[in-house]
């Protein structure tokens, strides 16, 4: 099975701007791409998953650097990013929209681009589609149970969440750091994630995620001509530092392992659902 989908090349990178790195999850690639886009005019509006009340994720159209920075960081709960796509074009009047989403959301926006039944004059306004690596997501109340019941931190006090080293990490605003083993979070996963065969956002222009690169760096797949042109613009502007993916630890081998494990496990779930007569996306 092809673990990554088609791509032109992969690299390891991080944002050169320290302010971005401080606020973002790993290498700050999405924030760096968005900020570069807004500052250079490649983009005039971007979709972000903003932090709502009590650390819930809320999709938002951002048009300034401050808005991008305040939304930086992974939320691990559903943020219906496509739901504000038409607002970006209609209400904000954006012509060059940047989009970021999980692999399923990237599939969704690709469907919209190919079959735009209800998206009048939106397809030609999408300038960049970024995807983030994703194993599964949690419904908000699932995340809340993990954070409040298992980690003993109130949602209103959460500063950051993270997944790494086999654990789910919660950082509170007051400096507490709590963890729970990743396998103990499985019962709270969104069940609909288990039909998804895509770990690395295979249909994005540019996909990124922490896995495969050292701490503070991100792995990036450049997949399309559009993604390559955008990446080159970022490289030329010096907004990202780059390392050869073959020179970094743990490298693409780990990404491959995780991508394949998602495909294996969810492939079995799909076969099971089919066997008992449940529908699958076709």
């Amino acid at each position: 099975m092809d673990p990554f989908g088609s791509y032109k090349f992969a690299i390891s990178a991080r944002a050169t701007d320290k302010q971005i790195r401080k606020k973002s999850q790993d290498g700050g690639i999405v924030s760096a791409a968005y900020i570069h886009g807004l500052e250079s005019g490649l983009l005039d509006g971007v979709i972000v998953a903003d932090k709502g009340e009590d650390f819930c994720a809320v999709p938002k159209v951002a048009t300034t650097v401050d808005e991008v920075l305040s939304a930086a960081g992974t939320k691990y709960t559903t943020s219906p990013n496509l739901s504000v796509l038409k607002n970006a074009v209609r209400e904000y009047g954006c012509d060059k929209v940047g989009f970021v989403g999980t692999p399923c959301q990237v599939q969704s926006i690709r469907k919209m681009l190919k079959y735009p039944v209800g998206y009048r004059h939106v397809p030609d306004k999408i300038a960049l589609v970024m995807g983030i690596f994703c194993m599964e997501n949690f419904p908000y109340n699932g995340l809340k149970t993990i954070v409040e019941e298992h980690c003993g931190i109130k949602m209103e006090d959460v500063a950051k969440t993270d997944i790494g080293k086999g654990k789910f990490w919660v950082y509170s605003k007051w400096g507490d750091v709590k963890t729970i083993k990743l396998k103990d979070t499985h019962p709270y996963e969104q069940q609909s994630c288990h039909v998804c065969m895509d770990y690395t956002a295979e249909l994005a222009d540019i996909s990124t995620g922490s896995v495969g690169s050292p701490d503070g760096w991100s792995t990036i797949f450049i997949r399309t001509a559009n993604g390559e042109a955008y990446y080159k613009a970022m490289e030329d502007a010096g907004v990202i530092e780059i390392k050869n993916i073959d020179d970094v630890k743990p490298g693409l081998g780990l990404v491959e392992k995780l991508a394949n494990s998602k495909k294996d496990n969810n492939g079995k779930e799909r076969a099971h659902r089919k066997e008992i007569g449940l529908p699958l996306p076709y």
Binding site: S6, P59, T77, T78, S79, P80, N81, L82, S83, V84, L85, K86, N87, G101, T102, C104, Q105, Q107, S108, I109, R110, K111, M112, K114, Y115, P116, V117, G118, Y119, R120, H121, V122, P123, D124, N137, P139, Y140, N141, Q190, Q191, S192, C193, V195, C196, E202, L203, R223, T224, A225, L278, P279, L280, P281, Y282
Partner: protein
């Protein structure tokens, strides 16, 4: 040149407005076809007998024999009959009609074209976007059946469509992952996202089916995966 006709039954002209909303692409479309009938765009009184593609907009008033005859005639005259827009595809807001409207108070029963005659393709949407109308016409001209397959399916099975599809076919089947495509696509804003799932305001839903057509968890044609 491929002969195309645009015919209207019970509809608001919105689909035609959407077709003309393709701006400069409209010229490409019109340049690529021979528009043999369109009440608004061409000065022709009768739909000719031998038409390659008929785009039929609107639902069929089954109290009106003229509407039924037009639907049947279009079926006979067209090589490819396209139910254009949600009224023709799935009934849309005409599903709610209960008559009493001046000057035809007895007209109280409307069915989508797909339920009255066999249609080859159905394009939902109220109205369908200009982009999708152009894409379907272009694919039909090129004989790109892979692209058209979902529209052929809707012509066969899509006459019951509304926000309930999201509940019955996606949420109830544990398929919804909360992308929000449905909410953005809904022309009446009847779909909002609550706790990462669509919530449908049935007072506002007009049964256009756009939400479920746009959902990647119901239908995800393989050709979408071809990116460059």
């Amino acid at each position: 040149m491929v002969k195309v006709a645009h015919v209207q039954l019970s509809s608001c002209c919105g689909c035609l407005v959407s077709l003309t909303d393709t701006y400069e692409k409209l010229l490409d479309v019109l340049g690529a076809i021979d528009l043999v009938y369109s009440q608004t765009l061409a000065d022709v009184r009768e739909v000719p007998d031998d038409v390659d593609i008929i785009l039929l907009e609107g639902s069929v008033c089954i109290n009106d024999h003229h509407a039924l005859e037009t639907a049947l005639a279009c079926r006979k005259k067209a090589k490819i009959l396209v139910a254009l827009g949600a009224c023709a595809a799935s009934g849309n807001i005409t599903r709610f009609s209960r008559g009493g409207q001046m000057s035809k108070p007895v007209h109280d029963a409307f069915a989508p074209l797909t339920e009255v005659v066999k249609c080859d393709l159905a394009i939902p949407g109220c109205p369908p976007s200009p982009e999708i109308i152009v894409a379907v016409i272009t694919a039909a001209l090129e004989g790109d059946m892979d692209y058209l397959e979902p529209f052929a399916e809707l012509a066969k099975y899509g006459s019951e469509a509304c926000g309930c599809d999201l509940i019955n076919k996606v949420i109830n089947k544990s398929l919804c992952m909360g992308c929000g495509a449905c909410a953005a696509a809904c022309p009446t804003r009847a779909v909002t996202m609550e706790c990462g799932r669509p919530a449908i305001d049935k007072e506002i839903c007009i049964k256009c089916g756009t939400c479920s057509v746009q959902c990647p968890r119901i239908r995800f044609p393989e050709l979408i995966e071809k990116i460059e």
